[in-house]
Amino acid sequence: MDNFEPKIVAFTCNWCSYAGADKAGMMKLKYSDDVKLIRVMCSGRIDPQFVMDAFREGADGVMILGCHPGDCHYRTGNVKALKRYKLLRKTLVQFGINDKRLKLDWVAAGEAELFQQVVNEMAETVKELGPLHLTGNVEQGGK
């Protein structure tokens, strides 16, 4: 398990969290290479299907990173993301997927250190959980 390199997809919004990741880059803050970013315009664009698809396609963890509440570039997209995330997590648990495998957080454009921190924490969490096996059946598969 020590050699386990989790695959983590992080959906980021163009205006805050993706910009925060850019800032982390500019500051040369190293973070886990297990985490790979997908940029969308707003966290409100993140369709729960994308999260499910990422898990199905082999992700061991998925992150949704948006602007802080009140700071959404599109007014309230992040709040919608939060609500969808809450519903989604509750559902994933029934699928036998540990809810720690899905994480939502807020990262502002300037919060490079925070970006580094949340991403590294997620990589650690997922590493501890181990790989996700989905078989279509709860007991056999994910944990």
Binding site: K7, V9, N14, Y18, A19, A21, D22, A24, G25, M26, K28, L29, K30, Y31, D33, K36, L37, I38, R39, V40, M41, C42, G44, R45, I46, D47, P48, Q49, F50, D53, A54, E57, G58, A59, H73, Y74, R75, T76, G77, K80, R84
Partner: protein, 649 residues
């Protein structure tokens, strides 16, 4: 039929050594060649430089690729740079896909091997995504350069004048029956004790006489559609029942049998059912208060008709519904004084001679209810006046914030009192004092020198205002009991009534304190959260006259620098669209849209995105339960492709 494999060009940028030091680009290039997915693979350097761009363009012209991947820096930095070059050589901007191997890989990855692998995964993701690119089209529209201003106080008036000077047609909407706002109710503006009506009067007549400015008083906004450069505003102009021929001679006032509280005097004086707000109001015409006029109640009176020398009374006037097309909207709706009647211990509304600061200002005014004389209810002059700062403020059950300007107003009480009653004692009870800036602070010092005493109270919530015979006593933590003839409560400032409703109509955000939220608290204080809608005066938060006016000038300055007649504006390219064939008409996308960009077509039973209003957040797409909504350039398929590419490498 064989489908031709799309031609994809891959540029790997060294970015000086920013990328090449951490990622083995030649190895990545070899790998890319080996996949046979690309028609062109090359490691180049400084692709964003003039030479780099030239080279980029040459390669594009030579290979005419269907898709271009630039593995380099963040798309937020140079996506547009390369898109523009692509467009110049006739390739649609959608075909350019950045793989951010600098910010997301070379600068943040410790292990070089892993950096290589991550870069490859990102290139794969970009490849899968760019294949699915659909052309994007730039859409432009000629702007409307007219401006609508909501609120006819000093800020709205200033905005109207400035905008008109720039040659713009201006609509100035005021819900009250005259322009003037809060400042017209003040006698003198501190610190220089300038005559407020004198500041306003010339501006009022300027607005009145300016053919570029249409003043609509007694009017309210009922709906707002559209977007920056093209708003359609619906206005209800309520009937006055007095025609414009009225010059405000007041002949009808004497004959009107109905006496009512005068709102202009904050209820301290009286007016009739036919009235003007103040002498010299703009417009000059009086208004009939339909709710209280005997003619409208039981048809029992038409005294004003015969009293009017101009034949201006017209009981048959109707409300008018107007539609106004403008390019920008300035909100200058101001503030209102906080309500202190709910705090029993302050005695307001229960004890005679306890007034709010705005009420005191009215009493002290030359056109005030007592004719500029500061008098007690019994007609005598007060020998002592106590002022309580932060009354109802800085507490969760009142106004939780500091309004920032009331201390200044509260310290003016002494100045006004001494002017009329030099021997009167004035005492200000405070917990915090806010006198920012040299002039304002000097004004405060001057008050102390001239006799106002400032007494600290350790906890304003302990203050008790009580009646004791003819006198009023004030107790509180940190000072011994004080006796005074008159108490002035320095109330904080709240958003004007109807602020929330207006924000909903305009689809803009409010701050936690209820005032309009600025686009940016530091960089753009007079822009609202929606492009084309501006906030001036106290609608953007409590402020003094100078700031109010400056905000108005700032807002209009921004408008006239952008809304140039004849200029085209580029509309958002990355909008959402709803596929008519797929839409089930479930309407669930409509309320989800933060910009009211989706409307329901009752005939076709489907939802439609007004692309000119859509800003492309894509939340309707995530919401659409039948998959009919599509986010341009961020389609479901493109994102699935990216997920697959990242995970499978």
């Amino acid at each position: 039929m064989t489908v031709e494999k799309p031609k994809i060009a891959l540029f790997l940028c060294e970015c000086s050594t920013n990328i090449s030091n951490f990622i083995d680009l030649p190895a990545v290039a070899d790998w890319a060649e080996s996949t046979e997915d690309f028609c062109f693979v090359e490691v180049s350097n400084l692709l964003c430089s003039p030479d780099g761009k030239k080279y980029f363009a040459e390669i594009l012209m030579k290979h005419k690729p269907d898709g271009i991947i630039v593995a380099a820096c963040s798309p937020k930095l140079h996506e547009k740079t390369f898109q523009d070059v692509a467009e110049e050589v006739g390739i649609n901007m959608s075909r350019v896909q950045m793989a951010n191997i600098r910010e997301d890989v070379s600068w943040v990855t410790k292990d070089k091997t892993k950096a290589n692998e991550k870069a490859k995964a990102m290139i794969k993701a970009a490849l899968r995504r760019v294949i699915l690119a659909e052309n994007l089209e730039k859409v432009t529209m000629e702007v409307i350069s007219d401006i609508l201003i909501i609120g006819g106080g000093i800020a709205g008036i200033e905005a109207a004048i400035i905008a008109s000077k720039a040659g713009r047609k201006v609509y100035l909407i005021e819900k009250d029956i005259s322009l003037g706002g809060s400042v017209i109710k003040i006698e003198e503006v501190a610190p220089n004790m300038e005559c407020a009506p004198c500041l306003l009067a010339p501006r009022l007549s300027e607005v009145r006489d300016d053919p570029n400015i249409t003043v609509l008083t007694n009017s309210e906004i009922t709906d707002v559609l559209g977007f920056y450069g093209n708003f359609l505003v619906k206005v209800r102009k309520k009937a006055r029942y007095v025609e414009e021929t009225c010059i405000g001679c007041e002949a009808c006032f004497d004959v009107c049998p109905v006496t009512l509280k005068n709102e202009f005097h904050l209820g301290l004086g009286n007016r009739k059912a036919i009235y003007t707000l103040f002498p010299g109001s703009v417009p000059a015409a009086a208004v009939i208060d339909k709710e209280h006029c005997k003619h409208f109640i039981d048809n029992s009176c038409d005294a004003c008709v015969s009293a009017c020398p101009f034949g201006s009374i017209n009981f048959n006037e109707k409300d008018e519904e107007l539609e106004i097309n403008v390019g920008a909207i300035v909100i200058a709706t101001g503030t209102k004084s906080g309500d202190v009647s709910k705090f029993d211990e302050l005695g307001y509304g229960k004890i005679d001679n306890v007034y709010t600061l705005p009420e005191f200002e009215r009493i002290a005014c030359s056109n005030g209810p007592s004719g500029s004389k500061i008098l007690l209810k019994n007609g005598e002059k007060p020998s002592s006046v106590a002022v309580i700062h932060c009354a109802g403020s800085l507490r969760e059950d009142g106004i939780p914030y500091c309004s920032g300007i009331c201390c200044f107003g509260a310290s003016k009480v002494g100045e006004l009192v001494r002017k009329q009653i030099p021997e009167a004692k004035v005492l200000n009870i405070y917990n915090d004092l806010v006198f920012v800036g040299p002039k304002i602070n000097a004004f405060y010092r001057k008050q102390i020198e001239e006799g106002t005493r400032f007494i600290k109270c350790y906890d304003l919530k302990t203050i008790q205002v009580k009646e004791k015979g003819d006198k009023i006593t004030i107790e509180g933590e940190g000072f011994s009991q004080i006796e005074a003839d008159m108490v002035v409560l320095s109330t904080g400032l709240e958003p004007a009534s109807g602020t929330k409703e207006l924000a909903d109509l305009l689809n803009i955000d409010l701050r936690k304190d209820g005032f309009f939220k600025a686009d940016h608290a530091l960089l753009n204080q007079t822009g609202s959260t929606l492009e084309g809608i501006y906030i001036a005066g106290c609608s953007a938060g409590p402020c003094n006259v100078a700031t109010s006016v400056t905000r108005a000038r700032s807002a209009v300055g921004d408008i006239i620098s952008k809304l140039i007649p004849g200029r085209e504006i580029e509309l958002e390219i990355l909008t959402s669209v709803i596929d008519e064939e797929k839409c089930g008409g479930c309407k669930l996308c409509i309320s989800v849209c933060p910009y009211k960009a989706i409307i329901f077509d009752d005939e076709k039973n489907i939802s439609i995105v007004t692309e000119a209003i859509c800003r492309g957040c894509g939340t309707c797409v995530a919401s659409c339960p039948s998959g009919a909504a599509k986010a341009k350039h961020f389609t479901d398929d493109q994102i699935y492709a990216e997920i697959g590419g990242l995970l499978y490498g």
